[in-house]
């Protein structure tokens, strides 16, 4: 729930509350004079889950470690691309189909850097960040299994040419 201390332009929030994409984009740009490009990603809870139609889901995290893990991902992105600001907001707790669940925003003077860093952050969030998803549908609750596809997408970035 806390906003860990980072370089001023990198921010993480893991929270139960919903978020406002316009306010987040405004915060991302606050104090900026050079931005040419902002790429964002918003993830929504799907109605079709891994196994069944999903009415609600529960997202669990590891308080402390989850934020640290996302900080590490942000710092890695800032080392790879010329970023001006990058921010991750991830919701936890009980969520319903159609709810916003994750937002990633990246500001850079270069649009290619903004896109690449935003996609990189999402791939790593899906693959490495400690979140666990339990889907609750007509057949009852079940924990979602890790998908090999997410691991493959994150692995792309390990190639220095990525």
């Amino acid at each position: 729930m806390a906003e860990p201390a980072l370089s001023p332009r990198l921010a993480v929030s893991v929270q139960e509350a919903d978020f406002d994409v316009a306010a987040l984009q405004q915060q991302l740009l606050a104090g900026a004079r050079e931005e040419g490009a902002v790429a964002t990603f918003t993830g929504y809870v799907r109605a079709a889950g891994a196994r069944q139609a999903v009415a609600t889901m529960e997202l669990e995290y590891y308080p402390g470690m989850t934020e640290r893990s996302i900080e590490g991902i942000l710092q890695e992105a800032a080392g790879r691309w010329p970023l001006l600001a990058a921010s991750v907001v991830h919701r936890v707790g009980r969520l319903r189909a159609g709810d916003r669940i994750v937002w990633v925003g990246v500001a850079s003077a270069h649009r290619a850097a903004a896109f690449s860093a935003c996609e990189f952050l999402m791939d790593y969030l899906k693959d490495r960040a400690p979140f666990w998803k339990k889907e609750i549908g007509p057949d009852g609750p079940h924990w979602v299994e890790a998908r090999s596809e997410d691991n493959a997408r994150a692995a792309r970035w390990k190639d220095p040419a990525g």
């Binding site: 470690m65 994750v102 666990w132 924990w143 299994e145």
Partner: protein, 84 residues
């Protein structure tokens, strides 16, 4: 003292979010701790903590393989992460 945490399916199956263990020099690495936990709480714990795909973290860093433990460490056991 070791602080032990369980998350997600493991937490649910053990019906336990975590526990604190007094420091025992005979349980001074991750494998020894997992074996001790699996053996001391009955069949259910043996099954759940015997799974291959359990991920272990020490002081909020994921450890691949075994790792020594020190008095005061925080150790977590959790299944593979599944993102948002």
């Amino acid at each position: 003292m070791l602080k032990v945490l369980f998350f997600a399916r493991i937490r649910e199956e053990l019906d336990c979010p975590g526990l604190e263990l007094p420091w025992d020099p005979a349980v001074a690495d991750l494998d020894a701790l997992q074996k001790q936990l699996a053996g001391a709480h009955g069949q259910r714990w043996r099954e759940v903590l015997g799974r291959d795909n359990t991920i272990r973290a020490v002081n909020q860093t994921v450890i691949t393989g075994n790792s020594p433990l020190r008095d005061g460490d925080e150790v977590a056991f959790f299944p593979p992460v599944t993102g948002g």
